[in-house]
């Protein structure tokens, strides 16, 4: 398998504060990679660096074979990288439908967009019920579904997910992860998943990286990592 996304010696900083130090990551075509680690390890920063958003970075980032590290966020999006950010990034004053239309903002194939509305309402029927509602009035779980759906409206090749389980009830988390798996299998959307909930992330992912204070300390197949008791005790806390 070839790597869809690859970072080489990625450094990232907010102003004078260095967060990532020489991170090498890979996401395989059609695969799901998870990035685990404690608070402040640099997981969110890694996703932001890939999208060239809010951080200063150095190093090399390749997407589908081409360098993207000097591109603007808006242009990286146009290559097919959709980011479901930390805090969901919902447009709270716009309706659910308008949020989804914005997800497809860069697309020009109207028929395809119309189809994708139906496809997404198929995954998340609750969003269809609420499509005329202001997004700010949705529950936390629904907002997370909306954030994922908005990203899917791009028809991305790669989905960057920043803690989709954050603040949600376990049942809702399971539902969301079940749908992520379905999307990955049916549509071959590759994913880079940042999570604190290592358990559920390792179940979904095929590869895992463990970040500690901005460096990769462990990497390998997700199954191997979740089977390694010492790693689990030392880093994953279960």
């Amino acid at each position: 398998m070839t790597a869809l996304l690859q970072t080489l010696a990625l450094d990232a900083a907010y102003g004078p504060t260095h967060v990532l130090h020489g991170v090498d990551l890979e996401v395989e075509e059609g695969g799901i990679t998870t990035l685990l680690g404690a608070n402040g390890a640099g997981k969110t920063t890694a996703l932001r660096a890939i999208c060239n958003m809010m951080v200063k970075m150095r190093g090399e980032i390749r997407f589908a074979g081409t360098r993207i590290d000097s591109l603007a966020t808006e242009d990286i999006v146009r290559l097919g990288v959709a980011h479901v950010p930390d805090g969901r990034g919902t447009f709270v004053n716009l309706t659910v439908e308008e949020n989804l239309r914005l997800g497809a903002y860069t697309r020009r194939d109207r028929a395809g967009v119309a189809q994708d509305f139906e496809r997404i309402y198929g995954y998340f029927p609750r969003l269809k019920e609420r499509r005329r509602q202001q997004a700010g009035t949705l529950s936390g779980g629904e907002q997370q579904m909306l954030a994922i759906s908005r990203a899917l409206m791009l028809r991305p090749k790669l989905l960057l997910l920043d803690e989709p389980s954050f603040g949600l009830a376990p049942l809702i988390v399971q539902e969301i992860f079940r749908i992520l798996r379905a999307i990955n299998q049916r549509e071959r959307v590759s994913m880079l998943l940042v999570e604190q909930n290592a358990n559920i992330a390792l179940e979904l992912a095929d590869h895992a990286y463990l970040l500690e204070t901005g460096t990769v300390v462990i990497k390998g197949p997700a199954a191997t990592i979740s089977a390694d008791e010492s790693v689990r005790r030392a880093y994953l806390g279960y």
Partner: protein, 290 residues
Amino acid sequence: MSGFLHQLLSGLATGGIYASIALALVMIYQATHHINFAQGNMAMFSTYIAWQLFTWGVPYWAAFVITLAISFLAGAIIERVLVRPVEKSSILAAVMVFIGLLLVFNSLAGAFFDYQLKQVASPFPDNAWYGGTYMSAHEVGTIFITFIVLILVFAFFRFTPMGLAMRAAAQNPVSSRLVGVRVSSMLAIGWGLAGAIGAVAGIMAAPTVGLEPNMMNGVLLYGFAGALLGGIDNAWGAVIGGFLIGVMENLAGAYVVGSSLKLSVALVVVVLVLILRPSGLFGRVLTTRV
């Protein structure tokens, strides 16, 4: 009674001009949280451009459209060249740029076109069928044009992808970039639209107030008062506020304080609104569930 009706209706006509300026102010405010104090003088300068085209013999509505296009471009260029560099710095730097722009347009107008009061013709002839006892033809025409502009602006924001992208960019620039919206272009387009809307206000005001470099000073204040009255974060509210201020100003001028004091009515309204209801009559408070 008929005198009252006349005052009320002609208040609506001037209110339309204030509503347009209020809308222009709100558009820039929503995107950047700045009040463009130069909005009035930009509109004044646009009116000079229209006047120049009229005197060169360009047909009225052609000159009108050309002026709007020039004003749009000028607004976008001003955003790119002058406003963007101070976007991230302190609010005082931005205010300084706006005040600077206000003075620059004032003196440019004086330098190019001198300070003599110029007459600008109305496109609505005095004896037109729609003019009558209560409203002059120009007043009817002004209201009509204002409504057309408002409908076009709202349709643009409500129904076009770019309008949606502009609302998104104003609300959440970070997420907007993540869906591929070029936020900085949206800001420039917003300034352009504000410039064009202001130009309409200036051209419609000119036949009544006369064209000179200070013609829009009062209008800017009234428009600002209207925007605050209706709610500076709400375009509809600002427009209604603009109309209300126009009517209030006219009635107060005719029956309460006299025309020499009516500008102070606008200031009193601004102060009262800020004290009693800082978010304006229609300013919205959104509750969010997390």
